[in-house]
Amino acid sequence: MSLATHWRDLWQRRFFRWIDKRTPRARHFSLDRNNLYIFPNRNGLLYLGLIVVIWLLGTNYQNNLILALAYLMISLFVVSIHHTFGNLSGVTVRFINAQPTFAGEAAVFVLELETAHKRGSETIELGWQGGERQTISLNPREPFRVSLPAPSHRRGYLQPGRLLVQSSFPLGIIRCWSWLNLEAVALVYPQPIAVEEPHHQNSSGREDGGTSRRGGDDFSGLRDYQAGDPIKHIAWKQFAQNKGLFTKEYEAYFSADKWLDWYSLNQLQELRLSGLCYWALHYERQQVPYGLALPELILEPALGEAHLQAVLTALAQFNLAPPSIPTAGKDYVG
């Protein structure tokens, strides 16, 4: 690492520490002089150079009108600072919600922006720190919703970090920006990973709720092969006929409620959760009622969207402390 990048990193860390102190976390921000920063960007520095060139032209030719043009350009620079600041100041940013997602996929955070500027606010760039940016424009008195994706890496609570809000409208020579510690949280489910099917445990009074039909080898049909299907159920005949890879389905699969039992698997914690997640999705797709048995939580077998969510949420939150919940007072901005 060169010295320059070292210093830049150091500077950036200090800058963010300072920003975090200045603007504490909140669900709702109003951009104003307390949290907006403004500085010429590279084009702005070029523009200043251009002013020097024109000033030299005017001075060397002793041409007052060219000098006046140079002064007008200085003046435009100053005016542009005000316009750029005015464009962003008065914009409010609030976190609406975030769709849960599976680890490894992008979580989509929904933000709502609104401007108090009577002409609207133009060309605002939004993006999580280090992420992709989106450019939006706001009409006056019209709240505008933006979906900002952030990559998720592991299950649990995803906090996407600081939100960059910036704009260099109208002339593109002054950059006005803000780093907001937005209190945004998305729930991240474990990544579904195929493992062997959890054992069917018939202990401690948990009777199979469904009408369990005897004999798990009554062939009922074929379906597309999915990763994790047992090898012995693969329809080798069809495969040999080049018809593709199919799995033979047997009545017995559908015959009984399934239990996603924590203790029936023997992987490490995260992989075990991934496996349970996989099977929960699988059973839901197959419309087989399933229950969840975690060390401190039991969900009775059921089916349906709400049940699946409850199960996945339980898996996502397993062994994790809840994130700091925003207190009601913080996001009121009068």
């Binding site: 669900r27 002089r33 084009n43 070029l46 251009l50 060139v53 024109i54 032209l57 001075t59 060397n60 030719y61 002793q62 041409n63 007052n64 009108l65 060219i66 000098l67 006046a68 043009l69 140079a70 002064y71 007008l72 350009m73 200085i74 003046s75 435009l76 100053v78 005016v79 542009s80 316009h83 008065g90 609406i96 769709q99 599976f102 989509v108 929904v110 609104e114 108090a116 133009e122 060309t123 450019t135 939006i136 424009s137 008195r141 505008f144 919703r145 933006v146 979906s147 409208f169 109208p170 002339l171 593109g172 969207e305 699946l308 009601a328 007072g329 996001d331 009121y332 901005v333 009068g334």
Partner: protein, 668 residues
């Protein structure tokens, strides 16, 4: 469920390529900016511009492909060759501007991204500045402002990422420009002016007016030229001085070759007299704004005592002949102040050395024999110098006529004029009068300059035009020095008293296109327009460090450092006050969110009861605090608090009407 719900998906991605309207803005901007320069540019550049614009439009419409690297190289090489051919390696202002415009035009071919567009805008600024190198008239300045307006509008449109009408774009650009003008004005008035930091290639100043030699017919051509030569403002005078005093001396010609008068020596020596010792009876102070004429001489009334102009930091000199001499030819409009002595107690040039006397009387040996004979005859009659002068002037008055179209003269021009044609313009009279006197042994010289001028009562200044160009004679009188004698005044006194138009016959008036005294309305308009030009030149174009100091003196009462500092502090405080006021006003502005507005209404009601929400206190905390003190409001306030929380933090907008109603009804 994991089929993601799409939430209001209306985001737009920043486009790398220029949108249609942005390209259109750039094309219009470019056309406007380079249009005034096209006159000064070689014709082939117009063609390159048209081609580049057309090609770029076709690329945009998808008809043609973008020019390949080879094509671009070829076009660039072609333009480079064209530049070399057109300017043939000269490094002047024209070449610089030509190169800039060439780059500006070629850049259009490869403007694809926002970065390229930025670059184009920046060159646009430089080229707008170049417009002002060639013309600085009020009209040029207005045009320049218009092109700046479009430049700003197109610059802004580059940053704008939705659709807007051209009108809205111009409006927004105009708003930026209007906001910028006041600061520009202040900067223009107070930022100190510096002299040129290094020598720049001189502009090719076209030589106007008369040249440094005088042949018959030279000034007659100028009489047709109505262009202004210079404008004079007299200090402390609201009415013009008598016209017969206004002999603006420019150049003294003292060598005659039989047909043409020339300058014997170049400007060399300083004046003989010590300027500070002269006893002045009547003096006149005036300032002149001289149009660039490409010559080193300036104009003044006899006898200039001192000048106060700084032309490129090299002072104007007063020469031995009491002329003003500028070290470099006047290529830009020049303002200078002169103090002239109209009457002196003793002559500034009391004696003439023998060598000088001889040279001021020298005539070519074998020319104009008749004139020499006439002079010898007058001398033979025993006339002295004064009598010979009187005889010659009387002859002019009696036998000669003033005409703009005199007959052409041959080799012995003075003989032909004096003894056969007898019709002439001022240079004929001045020249023949001088020759006649020299033949009689009296030292003379011909002076070229302007005579008279037209008074402009709107701004109280004198406009001297090229048509006022004049030539007259200065005669050496023993004991008195050089005396100005104008033989034209003997022939056509009107020319001196009222100006050229009155001295000409009706037919010749038509020839010079007499537009000054046509209709009185037109005349008035012309007066006013010229007055506007004068004010523009006086206060804008010639606002130099001197004028700046004068202005600041009048505005602030002095230019001492403490005074300026005090003023700056005062202005800063004023600006701070305005900023604070606008900030306070913006904070008092009702919030855009309905529930916040509602809770502000509640706060106003509680404030009447003496409860103020502290800074940093949340509405919930505030309500809880009030309830503790005022148990009677507990029921209504706690409901309001809960509703507010639901609306503001849980996004349960359906409770908003109830919240508003409860707050409206409060304290019931």
């Amino acid at each position: 469920m994991w089929a993601k719900r799409k939430v209001n998906k209306t985001t737009s991605v920043r486009r790398e390529y220029l949108a249609r309207d942005k390209l259109a803005w750039l094309l219009v901007m470019q056309a406007l900016v380079i249009l005034p320069l096209l006159i000064n540019l070689p014709v082939w550049l117009w063609l390159v511009w048209a081609l580049a614009g057309f090609w770029r439009t076709q690329v945009f419409r998808g008809r043609w492909g973008a020019p390949s690297g080879l094509v671009k190289t070829l076009v660039t090489l072609g333009c480079a060759a064209g530049m070399v051919a057109s300017y043939s390696g000269k490094t002047g202002t024209d070449t610089m501007v030509g190169l800039l415009v060439c780059a500006f035009v070629l850049k259009l071919l490869e403007v694809n991204s926002a970065r390229d567009a930025f670059f184009l805008i920046f060159i646009g600024f430089v080229i707008t500045a170049c417009q002002l190198l060639f013309s600085q008239s009020p009209l040029a300045a207005i045009y320049c402002l218009c092109s700046l307006l479009v430049l700003l509008a197109s610059w802004r449109s580059l940053q704008f990422n939705r659709h807007q009408t051209a009108r809205a774009g111009i409006h927004a650009g105009g708003r930026l420009l209007l906001h910028a003008l006041p600061i520009m004005l202040v900067l223009f008035l107070v930022i100190p002016r510096l002299g040129p930091l290094w020598a720049v290639p001189n502009q090719q100043a076209a030589k106007t007016g008369f040249s440094d030699s005088l042949s018959p017919g030279d000034l007659g051509q100028l009489a047709l030229n109505r262009a202004p030569a210079f404008r004079v403002e007299f200090t402390g005078l609201a009415t013009p001085p008598a016209t017969n005093q206004l002999y603006w001396r420019g150049l003294v010609l003292d060598t005659f070759d039989g047909r043409t008068w020339r300058q014997r020596e170049q400007w060399g020596l300083p004046p003989q007299a010590d300027m500070d010792q002269l006893k002045v009876i009547e003096r006149l102070d005036y300032s002149i704004i001289l149009e660039p004429h490409g010559q080193p001489w300036l104009f003044s009334l006899m006898t200039p005592l001192r000048t106060s102009a700084v032309s490129n930091r090299r002072p104007i000199r007063i020469t031995r002949d009491y002329l003003l001499f500028n070290p470099i030819p006047v290529a830009q409009r020049l303002r200078y102040e002169v103090s002239s002595a109209l009457r002196l107690e003793q002559p500034v040039t009391p004696v003439l050395a023998n060598a000088e006397r001889a040279s001021f009387s020298r005539l070519p040996a074998r020319s104009n024999p008749q004139t020499y004979a006439l002079a010898a005859q007058w001398r033979g009659e025993g006339l002295n110098d004064e009598a010979i002068i009187a005889r010659a002037l009387a002859m002019f008055t009696r036998e000669f006529t003033y005409s703009l179209q005199p007959p052409l003269l041959g080799q012995h021009s003075v003989d032909e004029f004096l003894f056969s044609t007898k019709k002439g313009f001022c240079e004929h009279f001045a020249s023949s009068f001088s020759v006649l006197l020299r033949a009689a042994g009296i030292p003379t010289r011909v002076v070229v300059g302007y005579q008279g001028g037209r008074w402009n009562p709107v701004e109280n200044y004198l406009l001297v035009s090229q048509s006022d160009a004049h030539a007259w004679t200065e005669v050496w009188i023993e004991g008195e020095g050089w005396r100005s004698i104008d033989p034209t005044a003997a022939v056509a006194p009107n020319r001196i008293e009222q100006g050229l138009d009155d001295a000409l016959s009706i037919e010749e008036q038509a020839l010079v296109g007499n537009n000054w005294s046509g209709s009185s309305l037109l005349y008035n308009l012309q007066l006013r327009w010229d007055a506007a030009t004068f004010v523009w030149q006086r206060w804008v174009l010639n606002y130099d460090s001197q004028a700046q100091e004068g202005f600041l003196n009048r505005l602030l009462g002095g230019t001492e450092a403490w005074r300026i500092t005090l003023w700056l502090i005062g202005l800063g405080l004023l600006a701070a006050a305005i900023a604070a006021w606008t900030l306070l006003r913006s904070q008092a502005r009702p919030s855009a969110r309905a529930e916040v507005r509602a809770i502000q209404t509640l706060e106003k009601k509680l404030a009447l009861a003496g409860y103020q929400r502290q800074p940093g206190e949340t509405p919930g905390d505030f309500i809880a605090r009030v309830v503790q003190r005022e148990p009677r409001w507990q029921a209504s306030l706690s409901i309001i608090g809960r509703l507010f929380e639901q609306v503001a933090y849980r996004q349960q907008e359906q409770h908003l009407p109830q919240l508003q109603a409860r707050i409206r009804r409060f304290p019931r």
